[in-house]
Symmetry: C2
Subunit: 217 residues, 2 copies
């Protein structure tokens, strides 16, 4: 296995991390995906890792530090490089977005080793939300990510308008927002429909298609 996450785990700042440290991160990560920050206890972390308190505090200065690193890891995983996206058509752009999203999902599932995709996603979303609620620094990162995405969408939509792929009276910013709102919205819906059926990608795909079909020429 050669997961993208390994890169972030072992080299968060370009330099390699200690093996045990990575092991603690990877192991306790699963705990934070199951419950909130306060609910995950040091006792659990120590038990799950099979190490001692002393070992833990040898590598981490606090529980909070561990949590923050895990969240940063998740942010890194979710980061998208739009410069590598196709810029010939809006259609290809959003298809690539769908592909990328699906891949991220699979990767997260492989990492966790769970087969309950929606429960995992629920907790994943929860942990990110909790992080932003607790530490404003993550809120800033999230905003930056959104701005990047928004710009990328605006660019391709503008191009599609110019070259006649789509035709709409709406502003490109608003159309971009619509795509992005659909991303978040369908995700939320997916989470809350966990006991129903379908997966996130299907929800999102349908939403994208609905938008696209109503603006294409």
């Amino acid at each position: 296995m050669n997961l993208k996450i390994d890169l972030y785990l072992y080299r968060p700042n370009g330099r390699f991390m200690n093996k045990t440290r990575v092991y603690i991160l990877q192991t306790s990560l699963l705990l934070f995906l199951q419950k909130s920050y306060k609910e995950v206890t040091m006792k659990e972390i120590v038990e799950k890792t099979g190490l001692s308190k002393g070992a833990f505090y040898h590598y981490f200065s606090s529980k909070e530090e561990l949590f923050k690193e895990i969240v940063m890891l998740f942010f890194s995983m979710g980061n998208i490089d739009y410069s590598k996206f196709p810029n010939d058509s809006l259609y290809n752009f959003y298809q690539q977005y769908l592909t990328h999203t699906t891949a991220s999902f699979i990767q997260l599932n492989e990492l966790v080793g769970s087969n309950d995709e929606s429960t995992l996603s629920f907790n994943f979303f929860f942990i990110m939300f909790e992080a932003m609620n607790r530490f404003p620094e993550f809120l800033a990162i999230e905003q930056e990510d959104y701005d990047q995405a928004h710009m990328a969408w605006c660019e391709i939509i503008d191009r599609a308008m110019v070259n006649g792929e789509i035709k709409t009276e709406s502003k490109k910013e608003d159309v971009a927002d619509l795509f992005l709102f659909s991303t978040d919205g369908s995700f939320i819906r997916f989470l809350n429909n966990k006991h129903y059926s379908g997966n996130y990608s299907d929800y999102l795909k349908t939403a994208f298609e609905t938008i696209y079909n109503n603006i294409k020429t």
Copy 2:
């Protein structure tokens, strides 16, 4: 002041609730809007209410019971009666939806007495999410609410298709989802842009208009 919430507070099941009990609910509700379940302590609740531990446990069997009642209260507040919505046009329907949403916001703010709309909303969302994560019963309620909303949107969209208000090749279910995804999505966006500008209603209004303008005849 004659807030809708008072109704739920004093008569959750048709019968009146004890005054002090309501006072405890109303007071500690503000605490749960500031931090997660685990982070709100009994000490804080007791201090904020000015009552004693004994008094609290005279009215509530546990902290969890209190939390659940607060969440139920929020669910009750957010519940929308679509049968009272205009059914003559999709345009009027979504305008009414916007009006209703704005009103709910104002009400929540009056209840809390806060002037920081976005922080409040953030926490509001968080508490609901936490509740659904912690107690599956709330997830079921949320799903029911969504199904109701989905049906209402489908109905009005179908009508608008038939009478020629809108014209689209998309299925009515997909268009309905698009409106609903925008609702959730713009809310998420609003939350994460808390330090920027604008309010939720503006986000949502723009999204609705964008959809509508691209499907209207």
